[in-house]
């Protein structure tokens, strides 16, 4: 018997006490109500407060000001070079170049190597969703965000999230992103603050391997 058949046979033999003729939902019910909102008060304000809790910088601005805020962020972080996915808003591109940063556009077929990416100071990305109760931003890595390595290797991540992408709870975000995974097979990255560790004496240090600076722009 090959390993697969043997493991499955072992599982079935171990489960002799489980009746075979009963539907899963009836045999082992789950009472949880999925996809619920959580009362967090003002969703956007809570989101902002909790992202700041992770020692990230958060700016809230109207849509027209986003390019200018991106440029300000680049300046604040002393960024000399920026990488973006190939679907990033044209106005953001102009703002990045206008701020004097060298711009790399990561395109399928012409992707930056890991070594090249390591020389870039920052990435500018859109977002897929956000959760207020946990201060989490989720990327599904469509072209306005870029592939997974972009938001990881450079030391600063500037992320623009629209207010209508922010939900109260983790369950709502999971519901919202279901199609990205189930239909489009996209990878997801959940980001809650800058990279951090508590491995030495449980003392939290921001910035280990991922970006040490997280700069969030909430677009109203």
């Amino acid at each position: 018997m090959n390993a697969k058949d043997e493991i499955l046979a072992r599982v079935r033999s171990a489960l002799r006490d489980v009746p075979g003729n009963v539907a899963v939902a009836e045999d082992s019910p789950v009472d949880w109500k999925y996809g619920q909102q959580v009362d967090v008060g003002d969703v956007i304000e809570t989101f902002i407060e909790r992202v700041i809790d992770y020692k990230a910088t958060v700016i809230k601005c109207p849509v027209a000001d986003v390019p200018a805020e991106i440029a300000k962020g680049l300046k604040a972080l002393e960024v000399k070079s920026v990488v973006i996915g190939d679907g990033v808003d044209e106005k953001w591109r102009e703002a990045i170049e206008g701020a004097g940063a060298k711009l790399y556009i990561d395109t399928p077929g012409q992707q930056l190597s890991a070594l090249e990416l390591n020389e870039v100071d920052a990435v500018v990305s859109a977002a897929a969703a956000g959760s207020a109760e946990t201060g989490t931003i989720v990327l599904d890595h469509r072209p306005d965000q870029g592939r997974r390595a972009l938001s990881l290797v450079p030391d600063s991540l500037i992320c623009v999230i629209r207010a209508d992408q922010v939900y109260s709870s983790v369950p709502e975000v999971v519901t919202k992103l279901g199609p990205s995974v189930k239909e489009d097979g996209l990878p997801l990255t959940w980001i809650s603050g800058p990279s951090a560790t508590s491995d030495i004496e449980l003392s939290r240090v921001e910035g280990v391997h991922g970006p040490r600076n997280l700069y969030v722009i909430v677009q109203e």
Partner: protein, 502 residues
């Protein structure tokens, strides 16, 4: 330094197999004398417990969430064969390749073959309990492949020629000064050395690890990981982490090999809403961990284009076959039970002789490995049964019930040992006790016996209590006085005082 050590590619762990460790009670005695470690453990577990309590308190429906975690995991266990096949089908359709491994040896063989097919001589690793369990690093080392741990705490453990002592924070037993010493001594031998003048502040130590590992991340072509969850419905894997080392390993190399225990399944993508709330709050006491990665087979133009999963049994079906014991398979490796445990807090993880330590280790390890070794037979007794672990477990594993259940199994196992194996007098004493309790006449006879002891020693020799006694009774009397036997048994007293009612 011996010549064999020089030939190794990675730092050697301490010699010997974990399963050959001494009994818990013996190792605990040694651990308790390590005052530095006790101080480190107390500081760390207190900090993390308080953080957990704070963020769990924020969640209004925490108890309902725990029940959901319990019910979903029970559903998985009771229908595991169906979910494994569903996962395999969906992961394969998404371009991934599934391998099955009956035991540690088979899992390691598969990983070695996959790495050898890439032609690479090293892998970068995401922290993973199951790869510790199957001792994958040493199997790779024996095949001349270097496995580099990239989680900060695992790096401290690996460079320190040490073993992990905690499920989530494996270097919990080390303080900053010890970490600095390890980095200064070892880092340069295995890659980028620490910066000059490295001090012992956590931020600078983390900075040294970042520099040391960056070179390895950027050149790595192959990586290994575990997974916190496998989603049957979509064929997705989930890795929950903090530092970004996981993302580096999951994203930059060309080949990714994830080694995952078969119990890690959740049925649907939507079920993740339960576990992505339970795990970070229970584990590191955060509302959410910094990074969670979810991937489904191969992602076009993004990350590794050869993506494997090795589904590992290695004793899990044994656990599943015990309808009571199988509750331990619900575990999501959060370590809340370790952090709350008064025993773990004092002795630390090494005394458990297992990669799974603390209360969950005490019930899971003897089920996974069986009850053949001394250490596995001792683990169910590594608890005062205080029950604090039951209250914090995010999937409501009744840990103390399982400890008692496993104690029973240990006694049964001892009884069925061949007669030439000597062990403690406990089974004999239990047989005597069983004879005494079985019949009222026997008990009356024993009562008279105790009165006789009082008459001779208590009245005759004026002994008021039994103090320290020689071995083996010393194991009880070292810490306790035994009071003198009563001068009459309850039966005698009843006859005298209530005789007319009898």
């Amino acid at each position: 330094m011996t010549s064999t050590e020089l030939e190794r590619l990675t730092p050697a762990p301490p010699p010997g197999e974990l399963v050959d460790s001494p009994r818990f009670q013996v190792s605990a005695r040694t651990s308790l004398t390590n005052t530095q470690q006790r101080a480190n453990l107390k500081h760390a577990t207190t900090t993390i417990r308080n953080k957990r309590a704070r963020v769990v308190g924020e969640v209004a429906d925490w108890q309902a969430l725990r029940t959901a975690g319990e019910q979903i995991k029970n559903r998985v266990g009771r229908h595991l064969d169906e979910y494994l096949l569903e996962f395999e089908k969906n992961f394969t359709e998404a371009g991934g390749i599934v391998h099955w491994a009956r035991d540690a040896e088979e899992a390691n063989r598969i990983v070695i073959d996959l790495v050898e097919q890439t032609g690479e001589k090293e892998v970068v690793k995401v922290k993973s309990m199951v790869t510790q369990e199957i001792d994958m690093n040493e199997a790779l080392e024996a095949a001349r492949i270097a496995a580099w741990e990239t989680d900060l705490a695992e790096l401290i453990v690996q460079l320190g020629h040490d073993r992990p002592s905690h499920i989530v924070v494996p270097a919990l037993h080390r303080n900053r000064a010890e970490v600095r010493e390890i980095f200064l001594r070892e880092m340069g031998r295995y890659g980028t050395p620490p910066p000059d003048g490295l001090d012992d502040t956590p931020v600078n130590l983390a900075g040294a690890a970042r520099r040391h590992l960056r070179e390895k991340f950027l050149r790595a072509k192959t990586s290994t990981s575990g997974a916190n969850f496998l989603v049957a419905e979509t064929g997705s894997l989930v890795v929950v982490e903090s530092e970004g080392n996981g993302r580096m390993c999951l994203t930059l190399p060309q080949t990714l090999i994830s080694v995952v225990g078969i119990e890690k399944i959740v049925p649907t993508f939507q079920d993740l809403e339960v576990f992505l709330q339970l795990l970070p709050r229970s584990s590191t006491g955060e509302r959410m961990n910094p990074y969670t990665s979810i991937w489904t087979g191969v992602s076009k133009d993004d990350g590794p284009q050869a993506v494997h999963v090795v589904l590992v049994d290695n004793g899990r079906t044994n656990v599943l076959s015990d309808p009571i014991g199988r509750a331990a398979l619900r575990c999501i490796r959060c370590s809340a039970c370790l952090n709350i445990c008064p025993v773990y807090e004092r002795v630390g993880g090494h005394a458990y002789g297992s990669v799974y330590s603390g209360p969950i280790g005490a019930i899971l390890t003897p089920q996974l490995r069986g009850l053949a070794s001394d250490v596995d037979r001792s683990l169910p007794f590594a608890s005062s049964l205080c029950g604090a672990c039951n209250e914090v477990c995010p999937v409501r594993i009744p840990i103390t019930d399982l400890l008692v259940h496993m104690r029973h199994k240990v006694v049964e196992a001892k009884k069925s040992d061949p007669p030439h194996i000597p062990h403690t007098a406990e089974p004999q004493l239990m047989s005597i006790a069983s004879w005494v309790m079985a019949d009222g006449k026997h008990l009356a006879w024993a009562g008279k016996g105790t009165a006789l002891v009082d008459l001779i020693l208590g009245k005759g020799f004026k002994v008021k209590k039994f103090g320290p006694m020689p071995y083996p009774l010393s194991r009880w009397t070292d810490a306790r006085d035994v009071p003198m036997m009563p001068e009459q048994s309850f039966r005698t007293w009843w006859k005298k005082n209530r005789g007319e009612l009898a």
